[in-house]
Symmetry: C2
Subunit: 153 residues, 2 copies
């Protein structure tokens, strides 16, 4: 399981991760904390569903939200940096997307998810369209985000 691999690799390298989750809604935190001893590698997830909580707790700029929308690589990038800082962690992982069934548009359909990993030097950001219902999008986005994290540990 990817969460176990991530956990093992973080522990082996003595690194920690902090999360900022929007559309995954706490699922990534829950997957990581399913693993015994996860408090060594995980201290914090900010599950920020509202724009206001993204601004107040993660330091996402209101201008970035206004210009790009909450589901954008620009916002994912600021969320990842904010999570890393808030958790004083080595790595920040952020996910923002549209889990559905509502909230989609032609430009930003249901299933669109933007992910960013911030290791303090480099940010890797990506967008992906996941098929399926709300559960499937949450699950697939969580696993994909953990894979992206894995490659930066």
């Amino acid at each position: 399981m990817i969460a176990e691999e991530v956990s093992r690799k973080l522990r082996a390298s003595g690194k920690t991760v902090a999360l900022a989750e929007s559309c995954t809604g706490g699922l990534i935190a829950s997957l990581l904390t399913d693993i015994p001893g996860s408090s060594d590698i995980f201290q914090l997830s900010l599950v920020t569903y509202s724009d206001r909580s993204k601004v107040e707790l993660l330091g996402v700029k209101q201008g970035t939200l206004d210009r790009h929308g909450a589901v954008s690589e620009a916002v994912a990038s600021e969320m990842a940096a904010g999570a890393r800082k808030a958790g004083r962690a080595d790595l920040g992982l952020a996910v923002t997307g549209i889990a559905g069934p509502g909230g989609g548009s032609l430009q930003k359909p249901v299933g669109l998810v933007c992910i960013c990993v911030d290791d303090g030097r480099v940010q890797v950001t990506g967008s992906k369209l996941f098929p399926g219902d709300r559960h499937a999008v949450k699950r697939a986005a969580s696993e994909h985000a953990l894979s992206m994290l894995m490659s930066r540990i």
Copy 2:
């Protein structure tokens, strides 16, 4: 499912909830956000695994942690108040406990979970010992916490 009932009752009463999760590790947030339209009733969960994040993000007092330990009704109470405030929500729900397999003691065995619901006027706090492994404790504590929340909406 209790998360659906909570979601429905919150929506019907026009109320919102903010969470502070320690041992449940994001599972309560994930259960609530499994439900379409949950952004109407849920804005924020602070998954604070470390003591430092409890202090910095939820306003838990270091003295309370020192005197009572992170797994205590006193800390759950401060976490719930902190979540409610951080999320500017009508209700704050906090959970802190020992999911195991490590971390237990004679006084505070694995499976001990402290829960608090804060509605801005009254706090209801309780402790309960849940049987089973890490997954079972996380799941049962999440469902019990949601039941406690349900009775305060």
